[in-house]
C-alpha cells in the first residue's frame, strides 16, 4: 500500500518539476519521465505484492472530500490493473525520452511530461479508489489529462478533432450512464464506500441488477471502446503523441473494463441473459473491430481498431465469467475472468509495444501511411523484430502471451459448450466461432501490416529513413520481453490471477486452481509445448546450417518475377490489395467503397484505384443522431422549423456527405415499396408471418411448459399411437 502512496507522491513531484523547469526542456522531460518510471515501478510492485498475497488492504486519509472520503484500497482486481498500468508507464516513459529528442520544443515537452504524470497518477487513483466520489474525481482527472494529451499538437486540426471527440464521448458516457449507476448504488446503500456498496446492492432484484449492468456496460463500455460506442477510439488514439497512444490503447481504455468489473463485484447474481448480452457485445466488437482494422491504411488507426477487437476478446472472457456465475459453473467463471484479466495485461503489453513500434516507424520515416512504406526491416531491423514480437503476440499465436489469455478464454468457451445444457450452450459456441474468426482475421491483418511496412522493397523512394534511438528501443524491448515471458512461463503468471478473480467469484486461490483444472489443463502444459517448439526450431536451424555448409555459397539474385524482367517496387502487392479479398468477402458487413479508373485503350491515361471503408457506427448511427440533436438545438434557438436564423445571412451548407450504407439500404427499400416490387411485399408478409409465429411459439411454449414436461414424461402417448393408427388404416 505504501508503494501506491509513494508512487502518487513521486508523480506529483514529477508534474510540479516539469512545470517549474519549463525553461529547460531537457531537464523538465528527464525529471518528469524519471518520476513516471519510478512511480510505474512502485505501482507494479504494489500490484504484484498484493497478487502474491501480501500487502495491506486499505488506506484512509483523514481528508474529507465533499460527499466522500479519500480512501485507497488495493484488492486483487485493482492489483491486476495496477501491474498493467505500472509496466506500460515505465516503458512509455523510457520510450518518450528518445521520442522527443528531435523536437525539443519547450512548451510541448514540459506540458507533455507534466500531463503524463497527471494521467498516470489519475489512472492509479482510479483503480485504487475505494470511494465513489474519489473514483469519479480521479476518473474525470484522467479524462481531462488524456484530452489535453491527445490535443497536444493543437495546431493540427485532426488532433483537435480527436481530442474533442474523446472528451465528448467520455463525458456522455460518464454523465449519462456511469454517474447515475454509481449514484443509485450509493444512495441505495447509504454510503459512498465501495465496501458498503457490495452489501447494499446485494439485496436488489434481478431486473434492477440487469438494468444497472446495462447502464454500466454502456457507460464504462464507452470508455473501453465496445462496439458501437467505439467511434471516438480510432479518431482520438492515432492523433496523440505515440507514447500517449500506447498508454491510451494499452491502459486508459482498460479503466473502462475495470469499472465494469468493479460494478460486477457489487451486483448480486445476474440472470443468464446479461451474460449472453455481454458475450454478444464482445463477439460483435471483436469481429467488427478486426474487420475494420483490416481495412485501414494508416498504421496507428489500424492499431486503434485492433484495440476494439481486443476489448471484444476481453468482453468474451467477462461474458463467460458472468455466464459461469449465473449457471454456477465455477470452472467456467474462473477461466473466463482469468482470461479476461490476463488479456487486460497482455493487451497492455503487446498493444503498447505495437503502438510504440508503429510510432517508431512514423518517427523514422515521417509517415504512417502503410502503402507508402516498405523494406524497413533492412533499415531498422531491431524495430522490425520488436514489431514482429508484438504482431505474433496480438494474433494470439503460441508461444507468446496473447495465446495464453486466449487459451484460457477458449477453455471457458469450450467448457461452456460442454457443461451448459441445451440450446443455451449455443452462446459459448458462437463466442468460440467469433474468437476463431478474430484469430484468423488478426493474422491476416498483422501479416499485412508487418509485410507491407517492413518487408519487400521501399515503395516510396522519396521517403528518408533514419534509425530508431536506443531509448525508444529499450522501452519497447521491456514490453517484448514480458510478452515472451508470460507466453513461455504462463504457469508462473496464471496462478497470480487467483486474487483478482477471487474478488469477482469469491473463490480462494486453491478453489481457483481446482476449478480451472476441472475444465482445462494447467497453464504449465504450454511451457512444455513452447520448449518442444523452440527445440524443433533450433534443430531445424542447425540442420539447415549444416546442410548448406556443404553446398556452394548461396547466390543473391533479384526476386523471380515470373518471367517479367523489369519489376519495380511500386508493383509490389500493396496493403489494400492484400486485404481486399477478405474485405470484399465481408462486404455485407463493411460496405467498402472502391473507386477505380482502369487504364483503357491503346494509349491509356493514368488510372487510379481507391478503396475506403467508413465506420458504419459513426456514419450510420452517431452522425445522423448528433446531426439531429444539433438541428433540434438550432430549432430551439432560432424558433424555426428549419433551424436557420431568419435575419442572419444563411449559413453555408455543410459539404455534402456520401450517404451512409444504412441510409442507402433504407432509400432502396423505400424506392422498392413505392415502385411496388413483388419481392418487397412478400418480404413484409413473410416477416409478419414469422413474427406472429414467434410470438405464438414462445408464448405458448411458456404457458404449456408443465404440459410439455408432462408429455415428455408420458411417453406412453407415443406407444399408444400405433394401435390408433392401425384402426385408422384398417378399413
Amino acid at each position: 500500500m505504501n508503494f501506491i502512496v509513494w508512487s502518487l507522491i513521486v508523480l506529483l513531484v514529477g508534474a510540479v518539476w516539469s512545470l517549474l523547469s519549463a525553461g529547460w526542456p531537457r531537464w523538465s522531460l528527464a525529471g518528469g519521465l524519471t518520476c513516471i518510471a519510478f512511480a510505474g515501478l512502485a505501482a507494479t510492485s504494489a500490484g504484484l505484492i498484493r497478487l502474491i498475497g501480501g500487502g495491506q488492504a486499505a488506506h484512509v486519509f483523514a481528508w474529507l472530500l465533499p460527499l466522500g472520503t479519500v480512501k485507497l484500497a488495493i484488492d486483487g482486481l485493482s492489483a491486476c490493473f495496477l501491474v498493467a498500468i505500472g509496466i506500460s508507464s515505465v516503458s512509455a516513459a523510457v520510450y518518450s525520452w528518445g521520442y522527443w529528442q528531435h523536437e525539443m520544443q519547450p512548451r510541448a515537452v514540459c506540458t507533455f511530461s507534466a500531463l503524463l504524470c497527471v494521467m498516470v497518477a489519475a489512472m492509479v487513483l482510479v483503480v485504487c479508489a475505494a470511494d465513489v466520489v474519489l473514483f469519479l474525481a480521479s476518473w474525470e482527472l484522467m479524462s481531462l489529462a488524456a484530452f489535453f494529451l491527445i490535443g497536444l499538437h493543437d495546431r493540427d486540426p485532426a488532433a483537435r478533432r480527436g481530442a474533442w471527440m474523446y472528451l465528448i464521448a467520455t463525458h456522455l458516457g460518464t454523465a449519462l450512464f456511469v454517474v447515475p449507476v454509481l449514484a443509485f448504488a450509493s444512495s441505495h446503500s447509504g454510503s459512498t464506500d465501495f465496501e458498503s456498496l457490495r452489501a447494499g446492492l446485494g439485496s436488489i432484484g434481478a431486473s434492477t441488477a440487469a438494468l444497472l449492468l446495462v447502464l454500466g456496460l454502456i457507460g464504462f463500455g464507452t470508455k473501453a471502446g465496445f462496439m458501437p460506442m467505439h467511434v471516438w477510439l480510432p479518431i482520438a488514439h492515432p492523433v496523440a503523441p505515440t507514447p500517449v497512444s500506447a498508454l491510451l490503447s494499452g491502459v486508459v481504455v482498460k479503466t473502462g473494463i475495470y469499472g465494469l468489473l468493479r460494478l460486477l463485484t457489487w451486483l448480486p447474481t445476474l440472470p443468464v441473459g446479461c451474460a449472453v448480452a455481454m458475450l454478444i457485445v464482445g463477439a460483435v466488437s471483436g469481429v467488427l473491430g478486426v474487420l475494420y482494422a483490416l481495412a485501414q491504411h494508416d498504421i496507428k488507426r489500424l492499431l486503434a481498431y485492433h484495440t476494439v477487437e481486443n476489448i471484444g476478446i476481453i468482453g468474451l472472457g467477462i461474458g463467460m465469467g458472468m455466464l459461469g456465475q449465473s449457471t454456477h459453473q465455477t470452472g467456467l467463471a474462473a477461466l473466463g475472468y482469468a482470461g479476461a484479466l490476463l488479456h487486460v495485461l497482455n493487451h497492455a503489453l503487446f498493444k503498447g509495444l505495437l503502438f510504440l513500434s508503429g510510432g517508431a516507424v512514423i518517427h523514422s520515416t515521417g509517415t504512417g501511411a502503410i502503402d507508402r512504406l516498405g523494406g524497413l526491416a533492412r533499415q531498422t531491423p531491431r524495430n522490425a523484430a520488436l514489431f514482429l514480437v508484438g504482431a505474433v503476440a496480438i494474433c494470439g499465436l503460441p508461444p507468446l502471451n496473447g495465446f495464453v489469455s486466449e487459451w484460457l478464454i477458449y477453455g471457458s468457451l469450450f467448457g461452456g459448450a460442454l457443461q451448459i445444457p441445451g440450446l443455451r450452450a449455443a452462446t459459448p459456441v458462437l463466442g468460440l466461432v467469433s474468437l476463431a474468426l478474430m484469430g484468423g482475421l488478426a493474422l491476416a491483418c498483422f501479416s499485412k501490416v508487418f509485410a507491407v511496412v517492413f518487408l519487400g522493397e521501399p515503395r516510396d523512394a522519396a521517403l528518408q529513413t533514419h534509425g530508431t534511438p536506443g531509448s525508444m528501443l529499450a522501452g519497447m524491448a521491456l514490453l517484448a520481453l514480458l510478452c515472451v515471458a508470460i507466453g513461455v512461463l504462463p504457469g508462473v503468471f496464471v496462478p497470480l490471477l487467483a486474487e483478482g478473480v477471487g474478488v469477482l467469484t469469491r473463490q480462494s486461490s486453491d478453489e481457483f486452481q481446482s476449478a480451472i483444472r476441472q475444465v482445462w489443463a494447467p497453464a504449465t502444459a504450454l511451457t512444455w509445448m513452447a520448449l518442444v517448439l523452440a527445440s524443433f526450431v533450433a534443430l531445424l536451424a542447425i540442420v539447415r546450417r549444416q546442410v548448406l555448409g556443404h553446398a556452394p555459397r548461396a547466390a543473391r539474385v533479384p526476386t523471380w518475377g515470373c518471367g517479367y524482367p523489369y519489376p519495380s517496387p511500386r508493383m509490389q502487392y500493396s496493403a489494400s490489395s492484400f486485404a481486399w479479398s477478405l474485405i470484399s468477402s465481408f462486404r455485407s458487413l463493411l460496405w467498402p467503397r472502391k473507386e477505380a479508373l482502369a487504364p483503357i485503350g491503346p494509349f491509356p491515361q493514368a488510372g487510379h484505384l481507391e478503396t475506403h471503408t467508413a465506420d458504419l457506427a459513426e456514419e450510420g448511427l452517431f452522425a445522423p443522431l448528433f446531426a439531429g440533436i444539433a438541428r433540434l438545438f438550432a430549432m430551439a434557438r432560432t424558433l424555426t422549423w428549419t433551424g436557420r436564423p431568419t435575419i442572419a445571412p444563411p449559413i453555408r451548407p455543410p459539404p455534402a456527405r456520401e450517404a451512409a450504407p444504412l441510409r442507402v439500404v433504407l432509400a432502396r427499400l423505400l424506392a422498392a415499396i413505392r415502385r411496388g416490387s413483388i419481392q418487397v411485399y412478400l418480404t413484409f408478409m413473410v416477416l409478419t408471418l414469422i413474427i406472429l409465429f414467434l410470438i405464438e411459439g414462445f408464448s405458448s411454449g411458456r404457458v404449456s411448459l408443465p404440459a410439455n414436461q408432462g408429455s415428455a414424461g408420458a411417453s406412453p402417448s407415443r406407444a399408444g399411437a400405433p394401435p390408433a393408427r392401425v384402426e385408422g388404416t384398417g378399413p
Binding site: 449455443a426 413483388i678 419481392q679 408429455s711
Partner: protein
C-alpha cells in the same frame, strides 16, 4: 431405422440450403425434384416404423407425390426454361453466400422454436418439425430473394414441401381425400403459374418480375412527365 430417418430429414434441410447456394436454374429444379423424392418416401417410412408395412393410404400418397412433384412438375419447369430462352442463372437479390448464411440462421432458428412448440404426440423424428419449419422458411426466402418468376414458382413449391412434411404428423388422422386435394391444388397452382410465366414472356419477351416493376415505373414516369 430412426437414424436413417434422421439422416433423411437432415438431407432435406441440406437440400434447402443447397437450393440457396446453386446459381443455375436447372440445378435448382433438380434439387427440388430430389427433395420431393425424399419426401415421398417419408410416409412409407412412417408406416414402416409404426405398423411394419406401408399401408395403401401411404403408398398412394407416395406414388402421387413422386409422379407429380418429382417427375411432372420438374419436367414442366425444365421445359419452360428450355423453350422460354431464359438466361439460365438464378439472379438473386441477396448474394449466394449471404442467402445460405441467412438460410442457416433460419434453420437454426427453427430448431430452437421447434423445441418449444407443444405437440399433441411425439412426431416421427425429433428432426421432423425443424425440417418442416426450415423448409417453409427457406422456401419463403427463395420466394423473396430471387428475381425471376420461375424461381418464385420453385420457392412456392418448396414452401409446399415444408407443409407436406408438417402434414406427415397428421397423416394417420387426415383422410386421403384431403391430401390428394392439396396435391391437386399444388398442381393447379403450378399449372396456372406456368401459363402466367408463359404469358409474361409473350408480352414482354422476358421473365423477370424485376423488369415488370421497371416497366411500370417508366410508364408512370412517362405519364407523369406528360401530365
Amino acid at each position: 431405422m430412426q437414424a436413417i430417418l434422421d439422416a433423411v430429414f437432415m438431407l432435406i434441410i441440406l437440400l434447402d440450403l443447397a437450393m440457396l447456394a446453386v446459381s443455375r436454374l436447372a440445378s435448382c429444379i433438380r434439387i427440388f425434384a430430389m427433395q420431393s423424392l425424399l419426401l415421398a418416401l417419408l410416409p412409407l417410412a412412417a408406416d414402416t416404423l409404426h405398423v411394419g408395412i406401408p399401408g395403401r393410404h401411404a403408398l398412394l400418397i407416395a406414388g402421387v407425390t413422386i409422379a407429380l412433384k418429382a417427375i411432372f412438375i420438374p419436367r414442366v419447369l425444365e421445359r419452360i426454361i428450355r423453350t422460354g430462352e431464359i438466361h439460365r442463372e438464378v439472379e438473386p437479390f441477396i448474394g449466394f453466400t449471404a442467402s445460405v448464411m441467412i438460410g442457416a440462421l433460419l434453420a437454426a432458428g427453427s430448431f430452437a422454436v421447434a423445441r418449444r412448440l407443444p405437440l399433441a404426440e411425439a412426431p416421427l423424428s425429433d428432426l421432423l418439425l425443424p425440417a418442416s419449419l426450415s423448409t417453409v422458411l427457406i422456401g419463403l426466402l427463395v420466394l423473396i430473394s430471387r428475381v425471376k418468376a420461375i424461381t418464385q414458382v420453385i420457392g412456392f413449391l418448396v414452401v409446399e414441401n415444408g407443409i407436406f412434411i408438417f402434414g406427415l404428423m397428421l397423416l394417420p388422422q387426415t383422410p386421403l381425400l384431403v391430401e390428394l386435394g392439396i396435391l391437386l391444388d399444388v398442381f393447379v397452382g403450378v399449372f396456372i403459374m406456368a401459363i402466367v410465366v408463359h404469358h409474361i414472356r409473350r408480352e414482354f419477351d422476358h421473365m423477370d418480375t424485376h423488369l415488370l416493376a421497371v416497366e411500370a415505373n417508366s410508364a408512370g414516369a412517362a405519364s407523369g412527365g406528360e401530365g
